[in-house]
């Protein structure tokens, strides 16, 4: 108020009359705001104030006049005492009152503007703080607690909460609370009719409830005191509509004043940021889960591949090349090899109907059971019968079945004895290029109760090839949906029959890959080539 001081001093210099301004400050007794210097006779004296017209009073230095200054602030102008007692005090009051009034009003406006600016600064600061909090944490609970504290300080709320919608239970869960431990607040059902939060969430619109409005629901009563501002936390998907994710509640304002439209606007802006943070947290969590799932699937794939035998276990009696490629991480295609002694080698290929995990479990069972039964049964039909005995219940309960070929090559006797339960793709390729199908002798295991039969064929040791593959190879489609078919595989084996099995297998897989290109593999596939 130095400018006012200057005006009053100039007034005193011009008129020889002292002047002072008193004002009331937030309910306290009036105090002196400014006075002419040197103040003549009015220092140390307090007049009595009222709102009536200017009136004459007697102060220690002589007569003076006190007049109420018009305007929003309760203030008074005191003129006098004067060096010359004949000065017209009332004229001076009438002259000075509007000038001072105008000045005080301008000063008040400036003060308001400054306060407003400070508030805006505080809000901007809050938004920056929240951005920082959300930027450096992915823990929603931690971020929510800090945000609630910062927001409450800015708007002067002593109680509040941040609730987030739980999609599993369809309730609003308290992730942060002020004035009460968050863990003590029970969840609120979205259908709760007396809950302000549930209503704000449903209507997707902010609500200001007065102290007397509605009976607070028990969960909200913990942090609702007096007026409560409740704002929905919204999130807008790129290119989609806004959806509510939760609610921010603030109440028990220290000033006792109601929340303003500005407060609501600020909290809405912050709620949007919280919404983005919630969504990011969910995406991060989903991404981590996905990552873990991928790792588990890779592990399952590796484990399943380890169940398949190395082809070397039947060397040097037999030279084998084999490959299994599941359509998903794990599948139901398999092969197994058995060293049976006395120049005999057992070769099995199988395709569990369907693919994925259920098929993989049956596959694992087939691998272990076949290893036991192959050693115990010299005849392939008996072996598959024993295998069926082990698998019967499992196949029946899962409505799966196993199409399988099991052959025993006896290089000393020069025979191939085989059983074929519904396996469509088995061939014997002779040295002179004859490719003969070894047809199914029985339906797949699990479809009928009978023990499969077996058949014996002549086998030229070291020259004949046994070719086995599953329908994942012949049914593989290119991007136009055209099947690879059986013929290209059989023809490749026939043409390159003199080559080592591993080399022929590479040729088959190369041709298959050329056919399918980037098309998605729909079924598990397995190929086995044996020379013995």
């Amino acid at each position: 108020m130095t400018e006012l001081q200057t005006v009053l001093t100039a007034f005193r210099d011009a008129t020889g009359c002292a002047a002072a301004i008193w004002a009331e400050d937030e309910g306290r007794l009036p105090s002196r705001l400014a006075a002419s210097t040197p103040a003549v006779g009015i220092l140390g004296w307090t007049p009595t104030f009222d709102n009536g017209p200017p009136r004459l009073v007697l102060c220690p230095g002589g007569p003076a006049m006190v007049g109420s200054i018009p305007g929003p602030r309760r203030a008074w102008l005191v003129i006098g005492p004067a060096a010359d007692p004949s000065v017209p005090l009332d004229t001076y009051v009438r002259f000075l009152l509007p000038v001072v009034s105008q000045y005080l009003q301008s000063a008040l406006e400036v003060e308001h503007a400054a306060n407003e600016l400070a508030e805006r600064y505080e809000e901007i600061n809050l938004l920056y703080t929240i951005t920082e909090i959300l930027g450096r944490t992915v823990s929603l609970g931690e971020a929510a607690a800090t945000i609630l504290k910062e927001v409450s300080e800015t708007v002067g709320a002593r109680r509040g909460s941040i609730l987030v919608h739980d999609r599993v239970t369809d309730t609003l869960q308290t992730v942060a609370a002020l004035g009460v431990p968050a863990l003590d607040v029970p969840p609120i059902a979205l259908t709760d009719e007396c809950s302000v939060s549930a209503r704000v969430f449903r209507d997707q619109r902010a609500l200001l409830v007065e102290a007397g409005d509605a009976v607070p629901c028990p969960a909200e009563a913990r942090y609702r005191r007096g007026t409560m501002l409740s704002v929905p936390i919204m999130w807008t998907a790129p290119g989609g509509g806004a959806q509510p994710l939760g609610v921010v509640n603030l109440s028990d304002r220290a000033s006792g004043q109601a929340f303003s439209a500005g407060d609501q606007k600020l909290i809405t802006a912050i709620a949007t940021q919280i919404g983005t943070a919630i969504q990011n947290t969910r995406l991060v969590r989903a991404s981590l889960n996905q990552q873990r799932l991928v790792q588990e699937l890779e592990l399952a794939h590796d484990l399943q591949m380890k169940l398949l035998p190395r082809t070397e276990i039947v060397a040097p009696t037999a030279e084998v090349a084999a490959r299994v490629v599941p359509a998903e991480s794990v599948g139901g295609d398999l092969y197994n090899l058995f060293r049976l002694g006395e120049g005999r080698t057992g070769v099995m290929i199988g395709d569990v109907s369907s693919h994925g995990y259920r098929a993989a479990l049956i596959m694992a069972l087939v691998m272990s059971a076949s290893a036991i039964h192959a050693q115990g049964s010299s005849d392939p039909g008996t072996m598959l019968g024993a295998l069926l005995g082990t698998l019967r219940e499992e196949l029946a309960s899962t409505e799966m079945f196993l199409s399988t070929f099991y052959g025993v090559i006896d290089r000393r006797a020069g025979t191939l004895r085989y059983a074929n339960a519904g396996h469509p793709h088995a061939y014997q390729v002779t040295a002179d290029g004859v490719c003969e199908r070894l047809p199914a002798l029985d339906p797949p295991l699990g479809m009928v109760e009978d023990t499969p039969g077996a058949r014996t064929r002549p086998w030229v040791s070291g020259a004949d090839l046994l070719l086995l593959f599953t329908d994942g190879v012949s049914d593989a489609r290119d991007r136009f949906g055209i099947r690879f078919g059986e013929q290209p595989i059989v023809e490749t084996v026939r043409r390159y029959r003199a080559e080592p099995p591993a080399q022929i297998l590479t040729r088959i897989l190369d041709e298959l890959s050329e056919h399918t290109g980037a098309a998605v593999q729909r079924d598990d596939l397995a190929v086995v080539l044996v020379r013995s």
Binding site: D351, S353, S354, H355, E399, M400, F401, S403, A421, G422, H423, P424, H425, P439, A440, L441, D442, P443, P444, M447, V448, D471, D475, D523
Partner: protein, 110 residues
Amino acid sequence: MSFALRKQGDIVVVDVEGQLIVGNRQELKQKVLDELERGEKKFLIDFSQTGYIDSSGLGVLVSLSKKIREQGGELRLANLNDDLKTLFELTKLDTLFQIADTRERALESF
């Protein structure tokens, strides 16, 4: 991919349009079992509009065949295309089902 069921006399005729695979086999199974539960005994599945049956599709046919037989009913298959016919022969499934070349012959065979 869909299954159209219609009644022809006392026979429930099912047309399999497209494919019978792991993704839709349960739908076929449920539709047929619903009819079986209503007391229907005679079923004909027509594959004239079917391109492909995977191993799980074959599984559901076997399962339905068993369940229908258990209820004293009968199942016939008709109009398998050459690929499907070969598949049934190669896997010896032709020994498990009564298969007719045409719908008419299948209907007459009940």
